[in-house]
């Protein structure tokens, strides 16, 4: 009888130990693995990047030089590192106007083949859009779009509104341009918003729309593009120099989906 009791006690101890171990390993799971690299991560907060030089020789004729950006570290990453986890989004294609996440599984994306796990989602609120945008014909009805709308669009996104499976592995590009997809900006190919004004053809109008990025390391950020032109003119023309990206982003570093960041 004594023997049995001893055995039971031993078994009980084992069970306890196993539970403890399991608990420990569970605690350890969410801690991200230390990654090699520069490792100068930013703090949770709002960051604004002004006149980031993408490709100042950009024309509407061909692709500009791609601009790879780390939201985690708030810095430009050389294109030669496109197949690494060092960046989160890239400004790609004509006028640097397509934004791709660093997702190495997306065939045809500049990240393809690399380890990237980043995702992208465009928040579209048609009621909000109606303030500046013809929601049936997919073009701005008011130009220049009132400046305060950027801040209110940015502030209105307080959390990640959808699950990760609704995010894209490919790009968010120009709004309904050669596609049926909503985009972050309107490209007036023919200058049809300003008939008869040749300086208004091939102009990209940024719109107050927020993109949500899940970074390669798994943090959520909201990004809004203010302008692709030097000094962010409210009403750009062909005389304005493209290739200068001005954008704001807020990043949440605690792993939560809280994007109500001031």
């Amino acid at each position: 009888m004594m023997y049995m009791q001893k055995e039971w006690r031993r078994a009980w101890l084992l069970v306890c130990g196993a539970v403890l171990l399991a608990a420990c390993s569970k605690d350890n799971d969410p801690a991200p693995e230390p990654e090699p690299g520069n490792g100068n991560s930013v703090k949770t907060g709002v960051y604004r990047i002004v006149n980031l030089v993408a490709d100042t020789n950009a024309t509407s004729a061909g692709d500009a030089v791609s601009l790879y950006y780390s939201l985690e570290e708030n810095r430009v990453v050389p294109a030669s590192q496109r197949q690494t986890g060092n960046w989160d989004i890239v400004f790609y294609g004509i006028y640097n106007s397509s934004v791709y996440p660093n997702n190495g599984a997306a065939a045809g994306s500049p990240a393809f083949g690399g380890p990237g796990k980043a995702l992208l989602y465009l928040v579209v609120d048609r009621k909000f859009d109606a303030q500046y945008y013809d929601t049936l014909n997919f073009k701005p009805h008011t130009l220049p779009i009132p400046q305060p709308l950027w801040q209110s669009a940015f502030d209105a996104v307080k959390t990640v509104p959808v699950e990760d499976n609704r995010f894209l592995t490919r790009d968010i590009a120009l709004d309904h341009f050669q596609s049926e997809f909503d985009g972050w900006g309107h490209y007036d190919f023919y200058g049809s918003l300003f008939p008869g004004n040749p300086k208004k053809a091939h102009i990209v109008y940024s719109m107050p729309r927020v993109m949500i990025v899940k970074t390669h390391k798994g943090h959520y950020a909201k990004v809004i593009i203010e302008s692709l032109y030097k000094n962010g003119p409210a009403n750009p023309t062909r005389d304005d120099k493209p290739g200068f990206v001005t954008f704001s982003y807020a990043i949440q570093m605690d792993g939560s989906k809280n994007l109500d960041i001031k």
């Binding site: 030669s80 190495g104 083949g113």
Partner: protein, 251 residues
């Protein structure tokens, strides 16, 4: 009966003794010599899913990494483990950037491991690309019947265009480069490849166009006249046409 059993036991004893002696005859191979400066593991980690393991050959101090073209890798991020106390240069995590030019220059990448006692050992990285061969159809009919192209620099716009047909091309044009090679073997700046052929893996639309300044480097680099062979690089392989073409640049 008892006697039989005894005999059987004796035979069994003998047999087992034999078996044991056979065992002791087994050759004992010494474990591989442990070098104080040794690469224990080499893997490429900047990929989706499992890393690409490098095969380390201690006999000839090489690391072989197989790179299938479908991965489209142009940068490698190796994670390297070395013997305790040893260091390695370049360090683990040092990127191998611009792989396409590494393939073309054929300059070997070397790793130097330094042991705690200061002794060093050099490993050579062998990159084995796995992709179909590149073949090209000729633009000229023969070595004497040469196709001719003229780029006139006088009008505002002029251009040369031709189609290179062949096999082994890739839909990702970033992995390809088309160059002219002159008679001395000198390569000229890359030619523009049309975007419309991304999905047709048997042809490449090539153009040399003179329009607004600054001109593309190839326009500036071409002399007044010359014979050139067309060379196509596709990831880790390349092919060069057998017969040249003639390009004349009219000033």
């Amino acid at each position: 009966m008892k006697q039989y059993l005894r005999l059987a036991a004796a035979i069994a004893c003998c047999a087992s003794a034999l078996a044991f002696s056979a065992c002791t005859k087994t050759e004992i191979v010494a474990p591989p010599e442990e070098y104080p400066a040794q690469i224990l593991e080499y893997k490429i980690v900047n990929v989706q899913g499992d890393p690409i393991q490098g095969a380390i050959n201690e006999k000839d101090s090489t690391i072989t990494v197989y790179l299938p073209v479908y991965r489209q890798l142009v940068t490698l991020e190796p994670e390297i483990k070395v013997t305790a106390g040893a260091t390695i240069q370049p360090a683990s995590g040092t990127l191998i950037e611009d792989l396409l030019s590494v393939f073309r220059k054929k300059e070997p990448i070397k790793y130097i491991v330094t042991a705690a006692n200061g002794k060093t050992r050099t490993y050579t990285l062998k990159l084995e690309v796995q992709q179909p061969p590149v073949t090209l159809e000729e633009l000229s009919a023969s070595a004497t019947d040469i196709s001719e192209y003229t780029l006139d620099m006088k009008p505002g716009f002029s251009s040369i265009s031709f189609t290179v047909r062949g096999t082994g091309f890739h839909e990702n044009h970033d992995l390809m480069e088309v160059v002219l090679v002159d008679e001395a073997g000198k390569e000229y700046p890359p030619l523009a490849v049309g975007l419309s052929t991304n999905n047709d893996l048997t042809k490449l639309n090539i153009s040399i166009a003179k329009f607004n300044e600054p001109y593309p480097p190839i326009v500036t680099a071409l002399p007044a006249a010359g014979l050139y062979k067309v060379r196509v690089y596709v990831y880790g392989k390349s092919a060069t046409m057998q017969y040249p073409i003639r390009i004349t640049k009219l000033q």
